[in-house]
């Protein structure tokens, strides 16, 4: 929605995001109050989840009886413009004068002419037939080839091989390149969705490349009561990144872990195989410097 207005001019229009029952009622109320309404939804049609329900909690009212009049009213209202299949990309400006960028997906049907008669849907010759997308074979990038093939070979005859394979891949590359996961799926027969769920379940795995040195600050109970919370902030400050993030030079990734079992040395951090115990805030710059210097 682009209005060529100057910044101090107030616009008598509103944009409602989401065309569910709440969004529809809001749009109607606004339109009744004389405000031009744009109603945005990312689905092909408005109606939201309620259109899939039979009864509603707690009164057992008929869902369709509640929403149908509103659907019709919105369809008729001259001041409501429906924008479906669209998502908001950015919002700028201030109250009274926003500028919103939307991205609209193609519908392949001219909305201005379609009456929604349903004839094309019923007469489509390939409707109700399974449409298989032909996926090409995934090939590994040359730099991954040797390692991945070796790992797959090592665990070929194992029962329940997925975890050991993923762990070895993680050791080799520090993260899971998408292509490698696709390749593993293709070779082992595990569906990619399954592999993806495992890959995102464990905290030791990452789908994004991580830094060369992973700073694991222990936030176990013993470390916490001995002041690990302050250390977390200081590390964040010193590296200029948040927890779970990686520095721009790909040197450090900062993570907080739950107990590395060195409670006698609390508070503790671990980087690779190096463990630093009885940490104090003043040790932080030296530790970071040590790894930075080793790099040069």
């Amino acid at each position: 929605m682009q209005h060529s207005t100057t910044s101090d001019e107030r616009v008598g229009a509103a944009l409602v995001v989401g065309g569910g029952i709440g969004g529809m009622q809001a749009a109607l109320d606004l339109a009744e109050a004389g405000i031009k309404v744009y109603l945005v939804d990312n689905k092909p049609s408005i109606g939201g989840v309620m259109s899939q329900l039979d009864k509603t909690f707690p009164t057992n009212d008929c869902a369709m009886c509640t929403m149908a009049p509103r659907l019709v009213e919105i369809g008729r209202h001259k001041d409501i413009e429906k924008i479906t299949l669209s998502e908001i990309e950015s919002v700028t400006g201030q109250p009274g004068n926003f500028r919103v960028h939307l991205r609209k997906q193609p519908r392949y049907v001219d909305e201005t002419k379609c009456t929604g008669c349903g004839a094309c849907v019923e007469n489509c010759p390939t409707r109700n037939e399974v449409q298989l997308v032909e996926l090409g074979r995934t090939e590994l990038a040359p730099q991954h080839q040797e390692e991945v093939l070796g790992i797959l070979e090592r665990h070929r005859d194992r029962k329940g091989p997925l975890m050991p394979i993923l762990q070895d891949v993680n050791v080799a590359f520090n993260y899971f390149p998408e292509n490698v996961l696709r390749f593993i799926s293709q070779e082992t027969g595990y569906p990619l969705t399954h592999i993806n769920r495992i890959a995102t379940f464990y905290s030791a795995f990452s789908l994004k490349p991580i830094g060369k040195h992973v700073i694991n600050l222990c936030m176990g109970t013993a470390c916490y009561v001995r002041g690990a919370g302050i250390l977390l902030e200081k590390f964040s400050e010193a590296l200029n990144i948040g927890v779970g993030e990686t520095t721009e030079d790909m040197l450090f990734t900062f993570k907080s872990v739950r107990c590395i079992g060195c409670c006698g040395l609390a508070p503790v951090m671990m980087t690779g195989d190096d463990v630093y115990g009885k940490l104090q805030t003043k040790d932080i710059p030296d530790i970071i410097k040590k790894y930075r210097q080793a790099e040069q």
Partner: protein, 622 residues
């Protein structure tokens, strides 16, 4: 066999000491001994965790049994010259309790060790965990031999049942019964899993057992496998324990070499082998059904029980999952008999239990004590009391599933039932001591944050319940607690307990409920008076410089990260509260003899703020 040497130096090489530089110290010691020509008379043995981790890096000199702690590289030449050359033990490196002058030279005199009873950790600090010969020399694998040659499986199960051994993972299910259920199942193969996914923050018993005596776990597993009729075993270890995994791998290959694993062990016709599986950082994997899913390569979410794993577990087959510590108990019971074992402990809780004693305590470390010992002995005798003369407040047991035990219950015994009665649980054995500077709201928030992060999200009560608990706790700690919040925590906690599917959810409200039970007044102070009695919750405290004490040394001023401190050299410094981020740096920087920086909370904040304005026309200090 090599000739016995004059002196043996048992240098601890557990993770704690290694991170303190134990290997460098061993190298230096070796170099120094070689330089003095002593290397033929004195041997250095890198052992597993000694237990007294707070003193690391440490070593024990045998046969004199002298204990040296807090070793540094600089101290080694002096030590070699004095002790090994001239025979004069070095007092400076011995253990001296705080507030006392005389050191304890002998290991056996140190109170930390005196009250302990070593059953599972019988070999800690005595053997080299990477040498199977050392384990065999301490009667290792005799239990396995006895079982294979003269005890039918049912007799083994009977013996374990009679001993009264209960699961050391936390819930305390009788081990013998579990084995019997699995043995009765008709389906084969049967599997055995040793659970070393020790996720409780503040606990490292299992890791220590694997690092200091891996063969005792292998032997225990072999006996268990023989009893239930299994030939495939797994050890599930967290990937955060690299040293434990390394030592276990070494131990497994040694056992195979000696024919103690593999086909027809000791020519008995019994086949058994063990595979290591690593976790990858998911707390819920310590739950047995999740762990099974993780090994299978499935999504590691728990499932509804029954059927219990002993009936239908790994790949749908009967599976016994025992904690590492439980399994390490097994060889001793077989060798010394169930009667001996059941004499230790209380009526319902037999044997010993390993605890990791950590937090605000003088002697941090790993301890093994008989069941039924009272908390006071653990905290004050073994633990040596609270550092810096602070007041004991509570001890937290059972990790995120457990609760707090207040000072009033210090004399109650430690066993499965008493702890549950107190609103906590045995758990895997973490024991975190808290002093007066620990805020119970803050600690509860910490645990709920943990369980909220680690909840796998499968069932609503745990996933959303922990979220809601956290929201309320955040509010209370942030100084925005409302009337009724405390009651709401109780109600919601009870609901989460009832409605969750696995152990994680069923126990996650415990830290909140138990602290509410014993420290309700603190919660109420947070909600009603916006005051944090322990001076921890940031939104309710202020840092303040006492003008009578401040000497204007600029130390705090220079180190303040937000430049919130005003002042000049020899002028009283003042903290500008609206700039202060409450990081506590100034408190750390202020020299101990001055200690002008203090924390205040509640009503004190307002009165001191006015005072600060008056002092703002800073008086000069001479």
């Amino acid at each position: 066999m090599a000739k016995k040497k004059r002196i043996e130096v048992m240098a601890c090489a557990g993770t704690g000491c290694v991170s303190g530089g134990a290997f460098q110290i061993i190298d230096a010691l070796e170099k120094e001994l070689t330089a003095h020509g002593l290397i033929d008379e004195i041997s250095i043995v890198p052992t597993g965790c000694n237990g007294f981790c707070g003193q690391g890096p440490l070593m024990v000199v045998i046969p004199d049994n002298i204990f040296y702690g807090w070793l540094t590289l600089d101290a080694i030449p002096h030590l070699v010259e004095e002790h090994f050359l001239k025979g004069r033990p070095v007092q400076k490196l011995m253990f001296t309790p705080p507030e006392e002058k005389e050191p304890f030279p002998l290991l056996s005199d140190i109170p930390f060790f005196r009250k302990q009873l070593l059953v599972v950790l019988r070999n800690k600090g005595i053997i080299d965990p990477e040498k199977i010969e050392d384990y065999v020399a301490r009667d290792g694998y005799t239990a396995l031999e006895k079982v294979l040659s003269s005890m039918p499986p049912d007799t083994v199960i009977g013996e374990i049942s009679k001993s009264g051994l209960r699961g050391r993972g936390g819930a305390g299910f009788p081990t013998g019964t579990k084995w019997e259920i699995a043995r009765k199942q008709e389906k084969t193969p049967r599997y055995l899993i040793a659970n070393c996914d020790e996720g409780d923050p503040g606990a490292y018993m299992d890791r220590s057992v694997l690092e200091s005596d891996p063969h005792s776990v292998i032997e225990g597993m072999s006996i268990a496998a023989y009893a239930i009729g299994s030939s495939d075993g797994f050890i599930y270890v967290r990937s955060e324990y690299p040293l434990a995994i390394e030592r276990m791998k070494t131990a497994l290959s040694q056992a195979r070499e000696y024919g103690l694993l593999g086909s027809s062990i000791l020519d008995s016709g019994f086949d058994f082998d063990i595979e290591i599986r690593e976790g990858s950082g998911a707390f819920v994997c310590g739950e047995e059904t999740s762990l099974i899913h993780s090994i299978e390569g499935d999504i590691p979410e728990p499932r509804q029980r029954p059927p219990f794993p002993a009936q239908s577990g790994l790949w749908g087959c009967p599976t016994v999952i025992n904690n590492v510590e439980t399994l390490a108990n097994v060889p001793v019971i077989i060798t010394r008999g169930s009667e001996w074992y059941s004499n230790i402990g209380t009526e319902t809780s037999k044997g010993t239990k390993i605890f990791s004693l950590v937090g605000k305590i003088n002697n941090t470390g790993l301890i093994e004590v008989p069941m039924g010992i009272n908390l006071r002995d653990v905290v004050y005798e073994i633990g040596g009391g609270i550092p810096n003369g602070k007041e004991f407040k509570a001890v937290q047991t059972g990790g995120p599933s457990g609760g707090c035990i207040p000072a009033s219950m210090l004399d109650s015994p430690i066993d499965y039932e008493s702890l549950v009665e107190a609103g906590s649980m045995m758990g895997s054995g973490g024991m975190i001591v808290m002093d007066e500077d620990t805020c119970v709201v803050d600690v509860s928030k910490f645990f709920i944050q943990f369980t909220n992060d680690e909840s796998c999200g499968k069932c609503v009560a745990c996933r959303d319940g922990s979220e809601a608990l956290l929201e309320v706790l955040d509010r209370i700690a942030g100084g925005e607690g409302r009337e009724g919040d405390v009651e709401f925590l109780e109600e919601l906690g009870a609901a989460v307990k009832d409605a969750s599917m696995c152990g994680l959810g069923q126990t996650l409200p415990n830290p909140v409920l138990s602290t509410l039970n014993y420290f309700r007044d603190e919660y109420e102070a947070h909600v009603n008076e916006k005051r944090c009695p322990a001076l921890v919750c940031r939104d309710m405290i202020q840092y303040y410089i006492d003008p009578d004490k401040c000497v204007g040394c600029l130390k705090c001023l220079k180190n303040c990260p937000t430049e919130a401190i005003m002042g000049e050299l020899k002028y009283v410094h003042i903290i500008e509260q609206d700039k202060c981020s409450k990081c506590g740096q100034c408190l750390e920087e202020c020299p101990p003899k001055i200690s002008a920086v203090i924390k205040v909370t509640g009503n004190d904040m307002d009165s001191l703020e006015q005072l600060t304005e008056i002092v703002a026309c800073a008086e000069r200090k001479n």
